[in-house]
């Protein structure tokens, strides 16, 4: 399983910028929104939590269709399905690899973009915390969507249609944490709920994803 | 006959209008598709001489 993780990470680093793409997209969103909204610091600070979370969501989505599609095309997915490790484990590892190349860099880069969007300093900690807690859920929900659409020719658009509604709870709690944190209010409740979603998604969704993959490989 | 809807006439009437149009559209589409498929299946079964 470690070997699979390393292989996926190496592929992501090598395969034509798939690694930096999500990060660059995230940066673009944070630059374009002030250009559209106007440079007033107060307005930007108010919408910053939402913008950063929506940006993270979309950046995550960008690389999702490659999660299983490449392996499906060259047949290595069939090999993995018949390999001695359970398919559920394969899905979980692939989601973990996806998180390491998208969610983790996004989390680390977020404070910089928070500064660009005039997020108050008190919100910075919670920005990083909420992304660190929430982005694993994005990857494992996304893996489910990718597993559903893996055999389809133009799966990318359908994938976003399927996955984005599933992201709603994560988005709401994630942005709420930053908003409350920046305003100096208690954040325990949304933080715990977000952690619950992440843990639940990481624990249960690999089974659904593996089921969908088996159906698609039949 | 027509009840006095007062100042909200447009609101109430457009609600009823939209709903009836949507429902009628749904029924009409379902029915048209039903008929089309039924006829196509009858033809296909007549061609093959196989009984449904």
């Amino acid at each position: 399983m470690i070997a699979l993780l390393l292989r996926d990470l190496r592929l992501a680093m090598r395969a034509g910028g798939g690694f930096g793409l999500g990060l660059a997209f995230f940066l673009l969103v944070a630059v374009l929104v002030p250009l559209g909204v106007g440079p007033e610091g107060g307005v930007l600070a108010r919408i910053a939590p939402g913008i950063l979370w929506v940006g993270a969501l979309l950046a995550c989505l960008l690389s999702l269709d490659r999660l299983f599609a490449l392996d499906h095309e060259d047949g290595s997915l069939d090999l993995l399905a018949t390999a001695p490790i359970p398919l559920e484990g394969v899905v979980a590892i692939k989601a973990l690899a996806h998180w390491l190349v998208t969610g983790l860099p996004l989390t680390l880069a977020a404070p910089l973009l928070g500064v660009l969007l005039h997020l108050p300093d008190s919100g910075q900690v919670w920005l990083v915390a909420s992304l660190a807690v929430g982005t694993p859920a994005l990857s494992s929900i996304g893996a489910f969507g990718a597993a559903l659409t893996v055999g389809l020719k133009r799966g990318g658009l359908l994938l976003s249609l399927l996955v984005l509604p599933l992201y709603v709870p994560t988005l709401i709690f994630g942005a709420e944490i930053i908003k409350r944190g920046a305003a100096g209010m208690a954040v325990e409740v949304p933080l715990l709920l977000l952690a619950g979603i992440t843990l639940g998604a990481a624990a249960a969704l690999p089974f659904a994803s593996a089921l969908a993959l088996r159906i698609n490989l039949r | 006959m027509m009840p006095d809807l007062g100042k909200y006439a447009v609101t109430v009437l457009s609600s009823y209008g939209v709903t009836l149009v949507l429902l009628a559209g749904l029924v009409a589409l379902s029915w048209a598709r039903h008929q089309r498929v039924r006829r196509a299946l009858q033809q296909a079964e007549a061609r093959t001489g196989r009984e449904g």
């Binding site: 489910f144 559903l148 659409t149 055999g151 389809l152 799966g155 359908l158 249609l161 399927l162 984005l164 509604p165 599933l166 709603v168 709870p169 709401i172 709690f173 709420e176 409740v189 949304p190 709920l193 979603i197 969704l205 659904a208 089921l211 969908a212 159906i215 698609n216 039949r218 | 009840p3 006095d4 809807l5 007062g6 100042k7 909200y8 006439a9 609101t11 109430v12 457009s14 609600s15 009823y16 939209v18 709903t19 949507l22 429902l23 559209g25 749904l26 029924v27 379902s30 598709r33 039903h34 498929v37 039924r38 196509a40 299946l41 296909a44 079964e45 061609r47 093959t48 196989r50 449904g52």
Partner: protein, 244 residues
């Protein structure tokens, strides 16, 4: 005699065709009666004026929008567990109907909200949840359309329906958490409490709800028959291609 006998498509079509005229007539009678009663013969509310008449469309549509999803969840589970094709096709047949009801609930809600809350759209928990429900329906229907192999499509949509249900419930609570909202609580279940729905509205509303339920059943029966026949047609055509 068990309910599983209707898993046989032929038997299902025969029974559905016998039942369908009755259900359809019942739906038409109840809807026409309920809506005419509601539209022409109910008094204006002292606070909401004549807009209260929208309740006869808004509430039944919203109820059935949720019930349609629940029905799809049940039939999807039956398909996954017992592999009865009729069940999967019934879920497929119900989705566009549920989607239309969701749209009706949203549209009438917007029309109702305009004079009452002074805005067409309010990011209120109930309205927002329905918008999210609409997106779920959209994804479900799109997945059915996109997958070519019918059994694969049935399996995948069933899995999506189950996972989607969990997330739909989660979204509902998340949205509640996010904004407290203007929408009043449901009034029909408040019978016996301090602010019950006036009986003048209660009975026409009950008739309308019955009408929407019957309409839903009739449409699902009709559309399921269509789906079964479509499947049969595909089989015959495939056989012909092989033969010729």
């Amino acid at each position: 005699m068990s309910i599983w006998e209707y898993a046989n498509p032929k038997k299902f079509i025969a029974t559905a065709q016998r039942v369908l005229p009755w259900v359809a007539t019942g739906a038409a009678v109840a809807l026409i009666m309920g809506l005419i009663w509601g539209f022409f013969f109910t008094p204006d509310d002292y606070k909401q004026g004549s807009t209260v008449k929208i309740i006869f469309l808004h509430v039944p549509a919203a109820m059935m929008a949720i019930n349609a999803w629940v029905m799809m969840l049940v039939t999807s589970l039956v398909w996954l567990v017992r592999r009865h094709h009729v069940s999967a096709l019934a879920a497929r047949a119900a989705a566009p109907v549920g989607m239309t009801f969701t749209l009706i609930a949203l549209a009438t809600g917007a029309f109702w909200g305009q004079p009452m809350w002074g805005t067409w759209w309010e990011w209120d928990p109930r309205l927002t949840s329905f918008l999210i429900l609409f997106l779920f329906y959209l994804g479900y229907v799109a997945l059915w359309e996109a997958v070519e192999n019918p059994d694969t499509a049935a399996d995948l949509t069933a899995v999506l329906c189950m996972v989607g249900s969990v997330f739909a419930v989660l979204s509902r609570y998340a949205v509640k958490f996010w904004n407290q909202g203007l929408h009043q609580d449901s009034t029909i279940l408040k019978v016996g409490e301090k602010d019950p729905l006036d009986p003048a509205y209660y009975w026409p509303l009950a008739v309308c709800i019955a009408g929407f339920i019957l309409l839903f059943v009739a449409l699902v029966l009709l559309r399921t028959i269509t789906e079964i026949r479509l499947r049969r047609l595909a089989v015959i055509e495939a056989r012909e291609r092989l033969g010729s």
